[in-house]
Structure formats: C-alpha cells, structure tokens
C-alpha cells in the first residue's frame, strides 16, 4: 500500500464515469432473491415478449428495468405522443415497433404481456382490452381511477386465466417481507395503531412537471388522450401534470397513499376495504389551478384498527410507516425496517408516589424494589434491531415477480382484488375530502356513501 493503491485509483475512475469493478464483499444487508439479469442467455422459446403502453416518466423507468431482466424482451411500444416513440427506441437500443394505437400491440401474436403506464383515467380501458386480447398485464398503481373502474377490472380478470399484477412495488420488497415476518411472529403483540407519513416540498414532487417543448396537436393525439374526461382545447399542462386534476388522476392519494396502503395490506395480511374513512386537507402550497389537495391527512379504520396516514406536498418529511402494538413497534422506511421492542412494564417505582407523604412513599419504593428489581445479569434489555435492504420502491424485484408469474402461471400477491382494495381506500380518502365528511363503502349498492 502506498499513495497510488488500486482501490483509490479504481474509485477515481469510477467517479469519473468509467466503470470500475467492485471488490466483492459480503453484505450485512437483507438480500432479495436474486433478480437474474439480461446478460444471462435464455432460449428463444423461453423468452417473454412484451409491449409497453405509455412511455412517460413511469413507463420509461419500467421499460429500462424490464429489459434488463433475463429472458424478457420489449418488441413494441405505444404512446399517444410521438416523442416517446423515439424515447422507447433509445431505451431499448434496437429497432422496435412503435405506434400511437395500443390496440395494435394487443393484436400482435408475438406479444405475451403488456406493461401499462398510462394516466389513471385510461387504466381500466387498456387493462380490460389487454385481458380480452389474452395478454398478461402489469399495470401501474393506483389500479383504478374510480370504484366502478376497479370493479370492472376485477370482473375482467375473473373471466380469464391471465396474470394481472399492479405496480405498487412494496409487495415484492425484502424490507416489507421482513416487517411481515416480524408482525406474524407476534413481535409487537396486539396491533393497536398504524401510522404513516410522507411529505414533499418541491415542484417536481408536487407534479409541476415541464411539458416536452415540442408537444402540440401534431405530435400528440390530444383527443384520444382526454379519453373519458370532458373535452377541452389542447393543454400541454394537463398532459404533463395530469395528477393535479381529478378528471385524469387520483391526487396524492392515488400517487403516494396507495404505496403506503399496499405496503400495509401486505405486511398485515389485509385484503379488504376499510370500514370508515375520514379525511381532511386542502390546497395550501401549489395554487396552480389544480383541483386535488396538496395536504391530505386521512384516518381509516381497518376492522377495529385505526390507521392514520398523513400525505403532504407542502412540507418535506421522512417517509415512514409505524406498526404499533402492545409489545413494541415495527418501523418501516425506504431502506430499513426496525423492530423496537417494549417491555410494557414499569422499570421504576411509579412516579405517582411523589404525591404520597414520605413515610408511605418510602415504604412503597422499598417494597417495589423488593418485588420488581431484576436479578443481576437478568435485567430486561430489549434490543432494537434494524435490518437494512434495498429501497422498497425498487422496480426490478416487482417486475421480475410479474415476469416469473407469466412464465410459471402461478398467481401474484398484487392481483386485481388486492389492487382494487388499495385503490378503493384512496378513492374513499378523496371522496371524504371532497364531501368534508366521513364515508364508507356500501357493498350493497357498490358505491361510496356518507356516514350520517
């Protein structure tokens, strides 16, 4: 070792953008099942060919990750904006078919699966059409734009034997799996509260995305893009920032809350609609003409358990979910899961005895110590444990689960029923916000009703 050791040179090369080789080392982190990469060859007959519908911000990430998986190949891309035909070819790095009409992908015999990353108001139609065409489907979250869409998608999957997986990644995360394992082992005793927070405070986090400069009615099929929404003149902001408006999106609930709900459903083994939902909030920070709230705290009741989730685009705060119970807490964060056990007993004489006169207090304290002091060497010493792991929003494990299911024909965790329940919780949160009243899901009429 001197001043020019290979480890230093290698680091400098890597930071200069030249790929350096990592010296192998055992990790102390939670390892996911390995996701085989595209570098490993697979026989042509075993390859899955997929087409992607929607190559926007989310779709481009899905495409980039999917083509790195072993035995997975993109052959076609559909988007209503022509700039993304160019983008899809750039990502795939070889000629693929591109079109504005997703129906052409559904008609293609050489396509096994469809990856869908279109605005929420288009999810149902593309999913239902893809299933009718016999394709397996990966669809971005939230599954549905409204409860009726969700019901239609559940019904459409029931009619086929096709795989549908919704794209909330946490059901494929090792961190969430560890949290689930701890919970199922009874680590926190009786669950009595779930709380979660997530906050952003920047224009991109609040969806104020810059529209592509060449966007125009010539490069975009604006009419089709509007779909079920009321027709209006060409508006590049609606196209790029659709999450801001309920006509196209589902707000902070459908964008972010759905991740927290999906993660919670997975960890706790819940697959149902909350009994009651009460939301508050408003548009405080981004008064740009949007009609969805930028601050949106929600209280759900799942069975008898209160679930309090606070979403904000108005102030940045760490994203965390806490499962709280009689024996401690499981704290789930993007890169870690921590178990914080609690003894649940007094570790000292009760401080209420400060209100006793001295003679009574002293007698109480003496007796307390006799009864409760631990045997030396056997002191209760609950140990907080943290498991670190890959980001629970990592796309690759979730995509890999989908393509594995396409191969094996085994069901996935996050099917249309799971996705419908998670999305419905978000629709209830939005409905309560707009009605300024508690709401519930009425199974009889299959509608959201106000609690009176």
């Amino acid at each position: 070792m001197g001043k020019d050791h290979f480890s230093r040179r290698e680091f400098l090369q890597a930071s200069a953008g030249v790929t350096g080789a990592a010296l192998a080392g055992n990790s102390m982190f939670l390892h996911a099942d390995p996701v085989p990469s595209a570098a490993q060859a697979v026989a042509a007959s075993d390859r899955i060919r997929f087409g992607i519908v929607g190559v926007g911000m989310e779709g481009s990430g899905l495409l980039t990750n999917a083509i790195q998986l072993r035995g997975v190949e993109c052959v076609a891309a559909a988007d209503l904006y022509d700039g993304r035909h160019e983008l899809a070819k750039e990502i795939v790095g070889k000629p693929i078919r591109t079109t504005r009409r997703y129906q052409e992908l559904l008609d293609s015999k050489d396509i096994d699966a469809i990856v869908i990353a279109v605005p929420d108001h288009w999810h149902k139609q593309v999913v239902v059409d893809a299933l009718a065409a016999g394709k397996d489907v990966y669809c971005e979250k939230p599954m549905s734009h409204n409860p009726a869409d969700g019901l239609a998608m559940v019904a459409a999957q029931k009619k086929t034997d096709r795989i549908v997986q919704i794209g909330a990644q946490r059901t494929s995360s090792v961190l969430c799996a560890k949290a689930k394992e701890l919970y199922e082992q009874g680590a926190i005793g009786e669950l009595n509260l779930v709380e979660a927070t997530l906050g952003r405070n920047d224009p991109t986090g609040a969806w104020e995305y810059p529209p592509p400069p060449d966007l125009s009615p010539a490069t975009l099929d604006w009419d089709t893009w509007q779909g079920t929404a009321p027709k209006k003149p060409f508006d590049p902001l609606s196209f790029a920032r659709w999450r801001c408006w309920k006509e196209y999106g589902t707000g902070v609930a459908g964008d972010l809350l759905v991740h927290l709900i999906s993660g919670m459903q997975f960890v706790l083994g819940i697959n149902e609609v909350p009994k009651r939902v009460m939301a508050s909030g408003g548009i405080y920070r981004w008064k740009d003409g949007r009609n969805m709230p930028d601050v949106h705290p929600v209280i759900f009741e799942y069975g008898d358990i209160p679930v309090y989730m606070r979403l904000s685009l108005g102030c940045e705060s760490a994203e965390v979910t806490r499962f709280q119970g009689s024996k401690g807490m499981i704290e789930l964060r993007e890169f870690s899961v921590t178990y914080i056990p609690q003894a649940g007993v007094d570790l000292a004489p009760s401080y209420y005895t400060a209100s006793y006169p001295a003679r009574l207090r002293e007698a109480y304290v003496k007796e307390w110590h006799e009864k409760h002091d631990p045997v030396p060497g056997q002191e209760p010493a609950p140990q907080t444990v943290t498991f670190n792991g890959n980001d629970y929003d990592d796309l690759r494990p979730h995509l890999w689960k989908f393509f594995e299911a396409v191969r094996s024909r085994k069901p996935v965790v996050q099917d249309t029923v799971f996705g419908h329940h998670a999305a419905l919780a978000c629709h209830l949160a939005n409905e309560s916000y707009f009605r300024k009243a508690p709401v519930f899901w009425d199974e009889q009429s299959e509608t959201i009703k106000q609690l009176t």
Partner: protein, 324 residues
C-alpha cells in the same frame, strides 16, 4: 412508483433511524446520560460503506481518554490515521474524515447511531450523494488453544494463474515468467480463490527498484513489500503491517533480490519472519488495512497480492499451511 425521488429520501430517512433503546436506566442511580452514550461507541468497529452498487470496507477505533474521545480510522485506502474530530451528543456519533484523505471536495462527516448491536449512519459521499454505512463490533479473534497444522498447499503452480483472479474484469495483466508471478505495474490486485482463517504462509518476493506492493492476509491485513517508502513511517516499510505494526529490526532494502516471508497469522496475532529474521513477533493487528477486500474480520479470507502501484514485483513459491 417514484424512483426519481429515491436519492432525496435516502438522506432524510436514514439520518433519523432510531437510536438504541437498550440503555434505559432504572430510577435508582446510573451514570449521566452523556457518559452512557459515549461508552456505547467506545471500541473497535468494522465498517462497511454503501454507495450505489459498491461496498467499501473501513475500520474505526474509538477510545475514551478522560472526558475526551479519540478516533482512529482506516478508510477506503491508505493507512490508519487519527481523526481530527469525534463527538457524541444526544446518542449520535459524529466523526470527520478530512477531504485530503478521501479524494473528496469536502470533509466526509459520518453520523451514526447505535442500533441494537450495530452502528448505522450516513455520510456525505465524495460523489455528492449520501452514502449509508453500517458498523459491527470488531471480533476479538482470541485463540484459546495452539493450532494443529494441516497439510501445506501450493497456491501457485509455477506455470500459470490457475487459482488466481484479478480484481477487475478483462484479461489478466499479471504474467508468469520463469516460475514467478509478475505484477505489471499500476495493475489490479491478484486474489487467490481459496479462503483461510489461521495459517502459516511462506512466500518469496522480488521487488524492483522504486516499487510498492504487498501481501494481504485473509484479504484484509497487508504485509508491506516496497523499495520506495523510506520517507514514510516504519510501518509502511517492508516487513511491516501497513499503518499498524513496525518491523523491528528493519532489514536493509535490497531491490531485485529474492527474499522470503514466513508469516504466521492466528486470530489477530501475527509473526513475520523476513529472510530468516523475526521482524514482528506475535503482535496484535488492531484492524483491517487500506485496500482490504472487506471488513468482515470474523470470516476466512484469501491471500491477495497487491498489483504494484509503480515498478514491478514478482512472487513465487507461495505455500500456505492452514490450521485445522
């Protein structure tokens, strides 16, 4: 899906990961909170820095001297060095590694908490992103009984690089010439495939003029080989364990001459015999040295030969006798 936001959130979420709850005090008398907190960090820690897909081993020792804390660190490269600053406040450890040592635009400020038996934290990486790091208490590696030696194993067949791999992909730049492995200069490391815990190692080396290389034991502890480090501290000289142990006595530098090492490593105690003369006698290696493959000190590891930084170095007759 919100992959574009990941980097931002790393910075926020990890800094605030829980402090340990294990030092909860009984009401009847316990040391002050600050002292308790500082004690939790005292000792030797095997660190792993995580950045992108990379893991970098490091090592940290914290000592308490009176009311002062003092820290020694081995970073991603280079020698063990005393840090300019280490503090504990509110259960949080902060230590600073100067930018000059780290090829960084600013000092690397490590912040961590004890969480269970591990230290976890973040640091501002030299690449401008926030890196995560974890630390585990370095194992004592104490030896209770005398080892029983097994059969000697020739790690180098004298003909080709069978059983050896370079630390970077691509065709090897090390060569075999006249029954010796020759480093190309400015090359990658040459790492043996087999891992050993305790062993005796015989190895012969021939160090050209103005050269710098080394033999890493268990892939973690470097026994120095050099002809150009006169100006540096004694532990950086041939026969030393880099940054930690001085060779005593020090033998004269003899470039282009074959020399021998007979090295015994048991737990963390090392004996180094150079050309038949004991230069380090059963001394403790405190921790990993710069360039270590990892910091998992309890695990077996390979012999690795440092790709010389400049100049050429050759090795031959590499025979290891593992403890059974």
């Amino acid at each position: 899906m919100k992959f574009a936001r990941i980097v931002l959130v790393v910075a926020i979420s990890v800094v605030s990961v829980v402090a340990g709850s294990s030092s909860r005090a009984f009401a009847n008398g316990i040391a002050s909170a600050d002292e308790t907190a500082a004690t939790a960090f005292v000792g030797r820690w095997d660190l792993t820095l995580k950045a992108g897909g990379h893991e970098y081993p490091s090592w940290l020792e914290i000592k308490q001297q009176g009311s002062q804390l003092q820290a020694t660190m081995v970073g991603r490269w280079g020698n063990a060095r005393t840090l300019p600053s280490v503090t504990v406040a509110d259960g949080k450890l902060t230590f600073v590694s100067p930018k000059e040592e780290e090829e960084s635009k600013s000092d690397m400020v490590f912040e961590g908490h004890v969480s269970g038996k591990t230290l976890i934290g973040t640091v501002n990486g030299p690449d401008g992103t926030t890196w995560q790091w974890v630390g585990v208490r370095a194992p004592a590696l104490g030896q209770r009984t005398a080892p029983h030696w097994g059969e000697p194993i020739h790690l180098f067949n004298g003909k080709d690089l069978t059983g050896w791999k370079q630390s970077k992909p691509g065709p090897p730049d090390w060569t075999v010439q006249n029954g010796a492995i020759v480093s190309p200069g400015h090359g990658a490391e040459l790492i043996n495939d087999r891992k050993f815990k305790d062993f005796k190692l015989h190895i012969e080396f021939n160090c050209g003029k103005d050269s710098n290389s080394g033999v890493y034991l268990r892939g973690r502890y470097e026994v120095q080989v050099e002809t150009e480090s006169q100006a540096e501290p004694p532990s950086h000289h041939t026969g030393g364990v880099y940054g930690f142990l001085d060779p005593t006595p020090e033998l004269p530098r003899t470039p282009d001459v074959w020399q021998t090492y007979d090295i015994t490593l048991i737990g963390r105690r090392v004996t180094i015999v150079q050309n038949g003369k004991t230069v380090i006698d059963n001394q403790e290696i405190p921790g990993i040295t710069g360039g270590a493959l990892d910091s998992h000190e309890a695990e077996p590891g390979p012999i690795y030969l440092q790709g010389s930084e400049k100049g050429h170095v050759a090795f031959r007759n590499i025979v290891i006798t593992p403890a059974e």
